[in-house]
């Protein structure tokens, strides 16, 4: 890859340079040739170095993936497809199935996005469209600050503030007062540590990512878009809904995906709040487990090679799921921007 990139440039540059009109006469053919030679060598070194840097990131990613895959291979080979579908996680007897952790990772992230996305877009819209100038910077700063709070601090806050509120107020309210207990999602005893608690803490943690990206994207929407809509007699609401948001759509989706990546991989705060029970339950009040917490909990004291390998395999599954989610997201963004392009054309 590196060689191809360099040689194409090499072929391209001498053809272009001599065509510069006045430069050739002023310098004379010899000195010009030397300069071109020097420039070509410099270009080649520069381009090789940059290519190397660029390849570092994917190489690192592939290296990590390969390492995790090799580590997890014994467990994947032993349990095969049932590793993904079985709920048994029994280190004593050496039987491992990651289904509850996979389920928990996906569900807690879904809850987080369902809550955080509308909220974050609301924050971004307020900051870019409605907020008075003096309020914008402070609020934006505070929202961004949420991203700087360490995960364990969210976890502690969750244990001491969020869990009691959920157990004493929110869960009984949802289940009994609103009679949502008839649905399987809001049934069962309210202990506190639960899928709902993990989803809520994750929603707070991903909010700054989504809102920051969305705000940047909204601010990048050209004034002419808004002015055109207003000139046609649109209200503020119609301008935002019809002209601003469609223009910013693909960028906002990108922000949501960034948040999703954070939610899928978050470990500490989730471990402290999810209850760590490897069981699939429809109720959001029931404790659950995520892949990242499973690894964090059991890695240090993993007993036996198979156990260690099973944890590596969980890591690999998490890696693959993240890749799939990213691929879907890129496809979605591509679809949206293509549809947007056709509309404006």
């Amino acid at each position: 890859m590196t060689g191809a990139a360099v040689s194409s440039e090499q072929a391209g540059s001498p053809r272009e340079r001599p065509t510069t009109p006045s430069g050739a006469d002023a310098l004379g053919p010899k000195r010009l040739g030397a300069r071109i030679q020097g420039a070509v060598i410099g270009d080649r070194i520069y381009s090789a170095a940059i290519t190397l840097f660029a390849l570092c990131v994917p190489a690192l990613l592939i290296l990590v993936a390969v390492e995790i895959f090799l580590g997890g291979w014994p467990a994947l080979r032993r349990f095969g497809f049932s590793f993904l579908t079985s709920s048994a996680w029994d280190p004593v007897n050496g039987v491992f199935g990651a289904a509850p952790a996979i389920y928990g990772t996906l569900v807690s992230s879904a809850i987080a996005l369902a809550i955080a996305t509308p909220l974050a877009i609301g924050v971004a819209l307020f900051l870019s469209e409605f907020a008075p100038q003096w309020l914008r910077q402070p609020v934006a700063f505070l929202v961004d600050l949420l991203a700087a709070v360490p995960s364990v601090v969210y976890g502690l806050w969750g244990v001491f503030v969020l869990l009691p509120v959920l157990r004493i107020t929110v869960m009984p309210f949802l289940r009994d007062t609103l009679h949502l207990g008839v649905l399987p999602f809001f049934s069962g005893p309210a202990y506190g540590p639960s899928m709902l608690a993990a989803g809520l803490i994750l929603s707070i943690m991903v909010l700054p990512y989504i809102s920051s990206v969305s705000r940047e994207v909204l601010l990048a929407v050209p004034r002419s878009q808004r002015e055109a809509a207003l000139a046609l007699g649109a209200t503020k609401w119609e301008t935002i809904w019809g002209a601003v948001l469609p223009y910013a759509k693909s960028g906002i989706i990108g922000g949501v995906i960034l948040g999703l990546g954070r939610a899928l991989g978050e470990t500490m705060a989730v471990t402290m709040l999810i209850g760590n029970r490897p069981q699939i339950s429809a109720s959001l009040f029931a404790p659950g487990y995520t892949m990242a917490s499973l690894i964090a909990n059991e890695f240090a004291e993993a007993s036996g090679d198979l156990h260690l390998s099973a944890l590596m395999a969980v890591g690999f599954v998490l890696f693959v799921i993240t890749l799939i989610v990213n691929a879907i997201a890129r496809w979605l963004v591509w679809q949206v921007s293509r549809a947007g392009g056709e509309k404006t054309a």
Partner: protein, 369 residues
């Protein structure tokens, strides 16, 4: 358009990276345990240390006191990384440390992988207590192994169950659901607790069994002693288990447990040492100390007790280091034991200490120098 494109790319990379980093950190941790480099508790001071060790976190406070006292007395510096029993066993197996430390004895499978024979030296004793949050109950509850096992198996679901009430006459037990809280992280505490339940309950021995991590029949997991204690404190009806030292220091409520003699014993430093003395009487003469002392016989013995071990190479590659280590162990078993109780560890009973010393002499560890 350019800006849009950049954002999407950034987001795609950004969303993959955190996970890659989590995994890299985890697998890096594994690598460290193999290579012995850059472990959490200051690998930097390793350079100046005469001896290095790694392992259990439970005895870390007493070990670090011993190491500093011993360094002040003899000038021998010992560096200890409290990375967990599993990591300690792995590092000893790889030969990257001079000694390991573990709460649970090494299994035969683990011993088969080491380069040479490994000696288990009990140092101090610890205990696991059953902590609970039962509204309206102020005095310590009385429990038996069978009742504890049934509660953790999910077969006792209410606190006013007749099996609990029968043990606690005169105590008004509420009609609260029993919520089990266990350790979510792999832990020697879980090993000792499940070792005890395996010993006293055939049903428990069959289903979850004994281990540092279990397939729990129900309940929820908290990370660390503090995670379990936090959830028990917050949730009415909760029952959990933590180390005795942690429970004492944090003033948790804990149960008295019926021992093999039929007495209800309060977990204290004395009753844990009594368990060690009770177990000593039943040890075969040539024991390697890889024994479980849960449900030990003897008057006043607290049944959920255990040794914590130093793991020594019987034939150290560096004989001078072996000698240094042996001297330290002998000092720890005599002078060191005096400072155990102040840090909420139970000292070994004299009967055990004399047997360990006899064994160390007869095996002549490091005597080649």
């Amino acid at each position: 358009m350019h800006r849009r494109h950049r954002l999407v790319v950034a987001s795609a990379i950004g969303s993959a990276l955190p996970i890659a980093l989590v995994l890299a950190a985890c697998s890096g941790g594994g690598g460290d345990q193999k290579s012995g480099a850059g472990a959490p508790n200051g690998g930097s001071s390793t350079a100046g240390a005469d001896l290095t060790g790694a392992g259990a976190t439970f005895p870390y406070p007493i070990y670090s006191k011993w190491f500093s006292d011993y360094a002040a007395k003899t000038g021998v510096k010992i560096n200890y990384q409290s990375i967990g029993s599993g990591g300690g066993i792995r590092q000893l197996t790889e030969g990257t440390v001079d000694f390991g430390a573990s709460d649970a004895p090494m299994s035969d499978a683990e011993l088969a992988k080491t380069k040479g024979p490994v000696l288990h030296v009990p140092t101090v004793m610890g205990a696991v207590v059953v902590t609970y949050n039962v509204p309206g109950v102020t005095q310590p509850l009385r429990l038996t192994g069978d009742v504890i096992a049934n509660a953790f198996l999910g077969k006792i679901t209410k606190w006013n169950d007749p099996r609990i009430a029968a043990l606690n006459p005169g105590v008004t037990l509420p009609l609260t659901d029993v919520l089990v809280v266990h350790r979510s992280d792999g832990s020697g505490t879980t090993y000792i607790f499940s070792d005890y339940l395996t010993a006293v309950s055939p049903a428990w021995a069959k289903a979850p069994g004994r281990g540092k991590e279990l397939q729990w029949p129900g309940g929820m997991g908290g990370k660390g002693n503090e995670g379990v204690a936090g959830q028990v404190k917050q949730t009415p009806g909760a029952i959990g288990y933590v180390e005795l030292a942690y429970a004492k220091q944090n003033h948790l409520a804990y149960a008295t447990v019926k021992n093999a003699n039929g007495e209800f014993v309060v977990p204290t430093i004395e009753s844990v040492t009594a368990a060690g003395a009770g177990a000593a009487a039943t040890l075969p003469p040539n024991t390697d100390f890889r024994v479980s002392i849960v449900n030990a016989p003897g008057a006043g013995a607290y049944p959920i007790s255990s040794f914590t071990y130093l793991l020594l190479n019987k034939t150290p590659t560096d004989a001078a280091k072996g000698k240094k280590l042996l001297d330290f162990v002998k000092w720890a078993l005599s002078d060191g034991e005096q400072s155990a109780a102040a840090l909420d560890y139970a000292p070994l009973p004299p009967a055990i200490v004399s047997r360990i010393n006899a064994r160390l002499d007869s095996l002549s560890v490091g005597a080649t120098s």
